[in-house]
């Protein structure tokens, strides 16, 4: 897959670096070491430079997402309505840390600076699906549901 993307950018310069990385991440879900090596050869640019760039930006990840990828909005409105508690509870109950994926590959957690849905805060996204207006009760229910679902997935 990565080869195909690189072929598309056959005469690319440095300014295409970000779009290429984005395409790679879109297709394989993260930036693997191999893909960065390939890109480094392709652009004739040291891989350290590519890492230097990629680690600067929030979008890029270097580990695969979990089967269940949770994104929590931490914009101002969500902060006022308890985003910190939501993040803490997810960390505690799903045993996953911000920016990481659990070892069994079930859960990964990402904190996002603002999703732009301030009218419906606090909001989170579970595998891209919004859960909005979370209350203590609906959030608790959601966590239980997730734990239940992914426990069965593991078996």
């Amino acid at each position: 897959m990565v080869e195909k993307i690189l072929q598309k950018y056959s005469h690319a310069g440095r300014d295409s670096l970000i779009p290429i990385l984005q395409e790679i991440q879109d297709s394989i879900g993260y930036l693997s070491e191999e893909s960065i090596e390939m890109l480094s050869t392709h652009l004739n640019l040291a891989s350290s430079k590519i890492y230097g760039l990629a680690t600067f930006y929030n979008q890029f990840r270097f580990k695969a997402k979990g089967k269940c990828h949770i994104q929590v909005c931490h914009g101002t409105a969500c902060h006022l309505l308890g985003a910190v508690t939501i993040i803490e509870q997810i960390e505690k109950q799903l045993l996953v840390k911000v920016g990481q994926t659990t070892r069994n590959g079930n859960f990964s957690l990402e904190v996002v600076s603002c999703m732009g849905a301030c009218a419906h805060s606090p909001v989170i996204q579970v595998n891209g699906v919004f859960r909005s207006h979370l209350t203590e009760a609906t959030f608790k229910e959601l966590l239980e549901e997730l734990i239940e679902t992914y426990r069965t997935v593991n078996k």
């Binding site: 440095r14 984005q22 101002t76 006022l80 600076s113 999703m115 805060s121 909005s132």
Partner: protein, 648 residues
């Protein structure tokens, strides 16, 4: 769209506005235009607002429910996706227009409300709980007893120019945009105006940059125009990244062609043949609508080589910013476009002299750009009618936080801050307005007594506030100011690019000082409290150093929230430090825990876990928390299986 033998499309519309005689019958085209404007309908149309915001409220599900409703009953009804009218808290929003009747707007239409509302509406009964109002139109018969939108306080209090078509037209249709007068300014400019003409008109209008700086846009363009270079670039800064601000996202999603037309005019005016539109990768709906709009403009011959035989060529490239707050700063944005880390560079040289790839470049905020087509179409004088002496025109604001209606509004510059709070219908019932935070992490907060301050660039600056990009957060008495500014400083220290030391280290230290006063010291011997108060005094001098010595606006403005809070809410700081109390009970480490004697079973689990041995008692009878020893960590609360631990 077929009409006789010819196919009517965007190209025929473009020909119409240019006055080019084509084979098509003019009246056919006018008929087509009135259908695009939904003045004349042949069948009922249901319009759903689909935006980043409404999707979170379930707009996709609502849309499927409408599709199912229509399919099940085999009805001949069109469904159209539109943008947002600004009433975000009322999402999902659904409009219905029946031929001959006025278009009506419904609020909070969840998927399972769809059958009931449509059943009613199609049979002339409007469920009152969901009706917002109806559009006013001479051509349609109004519904009885339903208010017109322009009579409703929310719309009446606004002055909607940039948002005139938001929520009304389909963002996926270039034809609708053209039918409402779109692209006429651009085609007029490239066929009849010189580059200087355009720059002059914009300068005369008094338009100032909406990205925060407030620099006169026409003057900026002239600086780039005056440079000689074989290539110039135009960059539209749509990397809206202040937390809690969403106005530009909604504006772009609701009417993307307005931005494309604005970019095209701006590029023409400065002599750029290549333009970049930089928005965030995360905003997937925004990205998708902009991509579609650019493609449609190419297809209609409004972009590309030798546009409409004018000799002007333009390529617009959409770049998806990979997410870094500092990339909103223009020189950092340019570095990012060049494929580098988004670190700012020293100015001068200014981008207008040496910008993208070393060439003269104009960077403009996306809202600045949205104004351009309107100024050319209606004239500089018309634009200058609104606003104040030095701050002309209108401004978008997103109002969120502790308000009844989180919304996107457009008001003339110079209105008071309280106008915005009123449009959002104030704080929730029973609560008291405490402060208004403006300008995101680089802005400041103001108290209710100052609510009559007019919103214009100079006054806000004098008050220690900032326009920023227009995100307003309203805080009520359940909010702790210290916690809120700690949130902003935490954001800044995380987003600081690390290139210059004052910003990188300063924001970090600032966060630590705030953290230390929102936490109970484990032991409070000696001059601990005094030391913490010294932190506050040092905050002020630290803020000064950051403001004076940071490389870019990020570090220079980072202390603003802290300084303005210190000014208005000093008692709250002192309360946190000396009394170790957070009146709003938000700073969790300042809470004191108590044990409910009726619920405690005396299992002693909490006492064993307590890190400071603050819980005492004898097994099998209720335990007790020694207030002086409690550090508010909350371990007891999470340990207790009986819900006996609570805090005040």
């Amino acid at each position: 769209m077929e009409s006789g033998n010819t196919i009517l499309n965007a190209t025929s519309l473009v020909n119409r506005i240019r006055g080019v005689k084509e084979t098509e019958n003019l009246s056919d085209i006018d008929d087509y235009i009135s259908r695009l404007k939904r003045e004349k309908l042949t069948k009922t149309v249901v319009l759903v607002g689909v935006t980043t915001s409404s999707v979170a409220a379930g707009a996709i599900e609502t849309k499927s429910a409408i599709e199912n409703y229509i399919a099940e009953r085999e009805l001949d009804i069109d469904i159209v996706e539109v943008g947002s009218n600004g009433l975000c808290s009322f999402e999902p929003l659904m409009d219905v227009q029946i031929p001959g009747k006025s278009r009506i707007v419904f609020r909070n239409v969840k998927a399972n409300d769809v059958p009931f509302i449509l059943d009613g509406t199609l049979n002339n009964y409007l469920p009152p709980d969901n009706v917002v109002g109806q559009y006013r139109s001479q051509l349609h018969q109004p519904w009885m007893g339903i208010p017109f939108l322009d009579e409703i306080a929310f719309f009446k209090g606004q002055s909607r120019d940039i948002l005139a078509l938001s929520g009304i037209i389909s963002p996926a249709s270039i034809e609708e945009y053209i039918a409402f007068g779109g692209y006429s300014a651009f085609t007029m400019a490239i066929s009849r105006l010189t580059l200087e003409d355009v720059c002059n008109t914009i300068e005369k209008s008094g338009l100032r940059g909406r990205g925060g700086g407030g620099f006169n846009t026409g003057q900026k363009w002239k600086m780039a125009l005056a440079e000689t270079a074989n290539q110039k670039y135009f960059v539209c800064n749509a990397d809206e990244s202040d937390p809690g601000a969403f106005m530009h996202r909604l504006m772009m999603e609701s009417n993307p062609h307005q931005i494309i037309e604005g970019i095209a005019i701006a590029s023409y005016a400065i002599g750029a043949s290549k333009a970049y539109l930089y928005t965030r990768n995360r905003y997937s709906i925004t990205v998708q609508r902009l991509e579609n709009a650019i493609q449609q403009a190419y297809n209609a011959g409004l972009l590309g080589h030798n546009i409409l035989d004018s000799g002007f060529s333009l390529e617009i490239i959409l770049r998806k910013g990979p997410g870094a707050y500092v990339c909103g700063e223009e020189t950092a944005l340019i570095s990012s476009l060049e494929g580098k880390r988004g670190a700012p560079t020293l100015k001068p040289p200014f981008p207008t002299q040496k910008g993208l790839f070393g060439k003269p470049t104009v960077v403009n905020n996306v809202e600045t750009i949205a104004n351009i087509p309107l100024i050319l179409r209606k004239g500089a004088e018309n634009f200058a009618l609104k606003g104040t002496e030095k701050s002309k025109g209108t401004k978008l604001f997103s109002v969120s936080g502790k308000v009844n209606i989180t919304c996107l509004v457009e008001v003339p510059l110079g209105v008071s801050i309280s106008t915005l709070v009123e449009l959002a219908q104030g704080v929730p019932k029973g609560r008291k307005l405490k402060a208004i935070q403006m300008g995101g992490p680089s802005g400041g907060c103001t108290v209710p007594e100052k609510m009559n301050t007019p919103i214009d660039f100079e006054t806000l600056k004098a008050e220690g506030l900032a326009m920023g990009s227009g995100g307003i957060t309203v805080l009520d008495d359940t909010v702790c100011i210290i916690d809120t500014i700690k949130f902003f400083i935490n954001f800044i220290q995380y987003e600081s690019c690390g290139k210059c030391i004052p910003c990188r280290e300063g924001s970090r230290r600032m966060y630590e000082i705030l953290e230390s006063i929102t936490r109970r010291p484990v032991n409070d011997e000696g001059h601990n409290t005094l030391e913490r108060f010294k932190g506050i005094i040092l905050l002020e001098s630290l803020a000064e150093v950051m403001r004076d010595t940071s490389l870019c606006g990020l570090g220079q403005t980072a202390p603003n929230p802290v300084l303005s809070a210190l000014k208005s809410f000093r008692e709250e700081f002192e309360e946190h430090i000396f009394d170790r109390k957070c009146a709003a009970s938000v700073c969790r480490n300042l809470r004191t825990f108590y044990i409910d004697v009726d619920k405690c079973t005396g299992c002693s689990a909490c006492a064993k876990k307590c890190p400071t041995n603050a819980i005492i008692g004898t097994p099998r009878s209720p335990y007790f928390v020694v207030e002086e020893k409690c550090i508010g960590c909350g371990v007891c609360e999470t340990t207790c299986k009986f819900g006996a631990v609570f805090f005040k």
